[in-house]
Symmetry: C2
Subunit: 197 residues, 2 copies
């Protein structure tokens, strides 16, 4: 029997990535998009794990179905770990990738090469109503480029260079990125938990 | 004899504030503005103290005169202490007070009242070429308002409410602000050091 799980996000890029990651894992789970009439869940927690759990719980409760949610972002050493949970709204509005990325580049303009360390972090939560809650976290270490490069992916991918790589995550092929990415790590771990249910 | 000291800043608001604070202290020191042809000193350090010392050293070396410099900013708890040393260029450009303030308000839009703590921090450095270097730091604790209020001061003054006050530092009279402010604390401490020379 195929499990049906709601993915608590309106971000089409995230749905694609999660489907791709779980499909590569041959997990027999059908990802159901968020119903159009589901309310927006404000991400008011101060940690990725807190927000992922908040979203998964809210959607599981509303729909009565198992739900998974991810909260992820870019943590920049020279910005004391920010944008962090504010990654998607760093420039003020929500989800304006170009503005967010330009702002981080501007804030980092005078930061020298040796101090441009950053991490991509993804927390993923799985909530089965009245049954169980689980969350996992994945981290990808890297550095920030000085200008955007590449057209794959989304968010801060064009300025993030994983440790040991010369390319940004927007220049890597999607499967290459998934193999090392924060979201790949988190959802593979979650898939194992779901498979052992 | 009146000591002459160069204040290493191009920010006219800072010159005014420092003159006002030192005058109230009856310190016999003449604040000389930065010469027009002095080069810009990039603030590349990751701490306020580091940048203040960097600027004071550079200007003392170029002019051969005693120099004081301040580096100051807003540290927001929910932003892990940022904008910090990037306060003046938080929105990307340099010194756009309105854009910086709007950006912080936008980033803090979903942060609830109990988590809006912030500090104004000022590090001030005094460098006498070939003789001595000294730095001091002042901190003002407070919280962030949800909209700008008041027209005094500069920078983030319109959104900063000192602990125990209902008004923002832009609503306080200048002398009231100086009595408690980060810059008041730092420059009064520096004035004592300079007086005991």
């Amino acid at each position: 029997m195929t499990d049906r799980v709601i993915l608590a996000t309106r971000n089409a890029h995230k749905v694609d990535e999660v489907r791709r990651i779980l499909a590569a894992h041959r997990l027999d789970v059908e990802i159901v998009p968020l119903p159009d009439d589901a309310p927006d869940v404000p991400e008011t927690e101060s940690t990725f794990a807190g927000n992922a759990l908040l979203k998964a719980r809210a959607i599981a409760e509303i729909t009565g179905m198992p739900a998974i949610a991810d909260d992820s972002g870019l943590c920049v050493d020279a910005l004391n770990g920010m944008p962090g949970v504010l990654s998607a709204r760093w420039a003020g509005g929500h989800g304006d990738d170009a503005a967010n990325l330009e702002l981080v580049l501007g804030q980092m303009a005078d930061v020298p090469d040796g101090r441009r360390g950053a991490q991509f972090v993804c927390a993923a939560a799985w909530v089965v109503p009245g049954e169980r809650e689980q969350f996992v976290e994945g981290v990808l270490e890297g550095t920030l480029a000085r200008a955007p490069r590449g057209t794959n992916g989304f968010g801060y991918d064009p300025i993030f260079v994983p440790g040991g790589y010369a390319l940004t995550t927007a220049e890597l092929r999607p499967e290459e990125k998934d193999a090392i990415s924060h979201r790949g790590q988190a959802f593979r771990a979650l898939a194992q938990v779901m498979a052992s249910r």
